[in-house]
């Protein structure tokens, strides 16, 4: 018995081999390829040319656009999402509204890609439902704005707001009604309650959600690709160009350098997120 147990535990790591092997091959290897080949040329000799490419003006502006787009859509998504989360949280905890809202938000937060782009083209595109309706009222919605950064901000809000609701709702639930009652008993006003209790308590959760939304928008590709069929306004679209167009001599690994740049930006956001989470977890549970 003891000997079979001993060999069993010595050999038990074999059970994890298929999973670890798969993950190593299809997750860790591709990721390390991105990192390593960012610093290599087509013949796998070390070079800094790809990374230097990141300093070219149009790449810098693509990163600027990506960060601006992600930041703006994160702020809009976080503010509006927090409002919607408040509406949901102040309802009946087991009510229909809450059940429907969380289910719908769960779906919409994952909803993106080509379908979302089409939905907005069908709404505010040249022949869109809303465009045609407002045309009769003398308002002109149509224009190229949908296919540029302002359009992306609008379209991204469609999945950012629901994500915010999902992330922020538990934090709002953690705010006890008793705290408000305590403020009222002590003669405090609503403003004082917000200023000294609710806002300070919710700030870490809000900031954390903001960072999560930023990373979410920064990583999004499909919706932008379906709306903007050419060019590289934002970094993911630059990567598309690098992967699909004719590869220029000496530029074979530029896509990897762009991807590395994205990883770094997301890593900073996630690091800050972890820091904020650690601070906020104390009160709200």
């Amino acid at each position: 018995m003891t000997s079979s147990r001993a060999t069993g535990s010595r050999l038990s790591w074999i059970g994890a081999v298929p999973f670890l092997g798969y993950v190593a091959l299809f997750l860790l290897l591709p990721t390390s390829l991105v990192v390593v080949q960012s610093f290599a040329d087509a013949q796998n000799r070390p070079t800094l040319a790809n990374v230097r490419f990141l300093a070219e003006p149009y790449v810098v502006s693509a990163f600027g656009n990506s960060i601006a787009l992600s930041a703006v859509s994160a702020v809009i998504g976080a503010v509006l999402g927090a409002v919607l989360a408040w509406v949901v949280a102040t309802g009946h905890p087991d009510g229909t509204l809450r059940r429907i809202a969380t289910a719908v938000c769960g779906v919409l937060a994952q909803f993106g890609g080509v379908t979302l782009a089409f939905a907005f083209i069908a709404t505010v595109g040249t022949q869109g439902l809303l465009t045609l309706l407002l045309q009769d009222l003398g308002l002109d919605l149509a224009g190229p704005w949908l296919y540029r950064l302002p359009g992306l901000v609008l379209v991204y809000s469609y999945f950012q707001i629901p994500l915010m609701v999902l992330v922020f709702l538990p934090a709002l639930d953690g705010v006890r009604p008793q705290w408000r009652e305590a403020v009222e008993t002590l003669g405090g006003s609503t403003w004082q309650y917000l200023r000294h209790v609710a806002v300070p308590l919710l700030t870490p959760a809000f900031l954390g959600a903001l960072l999560l939304l930023f990373a979410n928008a920064f990583a999004a590709y499909a919706t932008a690709a379906a709306l903007i069929s050419q060019g590289g306004v934002i970094v993911p679209l630059q990567i598309r160009t690098a992967l699909t167009s004719e590869v220029l001599l000496g530029r074979e690994n530029v896509g990897k350098a762009l991807a590395l740049g994205m990883v770094l930006v997301v890593a900073v956001a996630m690091y800050l997120y972890a820091r904020v989470q650690a601070r906020g977890a104390r009160w709200l549970r």
Partner: protein
Amino acid sequence: MTAPPHLGPAATSLATAPERTGAGLHARRLRRRKMVRGVLLAAFAAFFGIPLLALVEFSTRERGAGGGRTLEAWKAIPQYPGLPEAIVASLQLAALTSVGALFLLVPTMVWVRLRLPRLSRLVEFLCLLPLTIPAIVLVVGWAPLYLWINYFTPRTYQSTPLVLTFAYVVLVLPYAYRTLDSGLSAIDVRTLSEAARSLGASWATVLLRVIAPNLGPAILNAALLSVALVLGEFTVASLLNYVNVQVAMNAIGQAEARVAVAVAAGALMSVFLLLFLLSFVGRGPRRVRSTR
């Protein structure tokens, strides 16, 4: 609970007559809150509802400026060149991916719980890693791998999109892991497997006939999530030059917008239906437990 910032006179008089004004303040605040909530809900419902309505509306428009309704675009879906194949490919990918992810994860997670608890943090970290690496970054890394996969695929299967399964399993890992992990936490894996083992069951029997049935809802949940994710996947397929339903849809969008929008609406409805089913699957056992 928070309330909209409003500083009515009632709020300031709270201190002078707490009993009566307190009650009035409460009623007024509730009424006001109800109204604000109603307006906000309507606005959000419009923002999220109108684009979905527009999808359906656009796909049923009659050609030309007549303003009539027709199902022409929907009926064109099965005949559109390349489209049925792409739909079938996406469905096959969805099935392969969910089965693949389950076969990879369930035995590993059970095994780690029983024999290798030291590895649990590592497995969790690896499974959640794809959440932090953007899919577009992974595609860049997969591109050279897929050159190799292509090289080793027999010529007759050269352009089949089914090889995307390898990548898709990685993409669904975080979601499948989370649902399975919460499922496994709810049952006593150790006792169940020790009981079965002491009665002479093999490890395969333990997994398939003892653990799996107990994990039923979690497994179904993970599978449905994977299906929903794969049906909507565009990034990886399009950049690695494989055709799935989303890639086909995007291409058709340039030529025949109404058909493309009809496919989008159809795909969306099936995903909504799936996730709607899922919300029942997820709730089933919990409700049973709470009434007990």
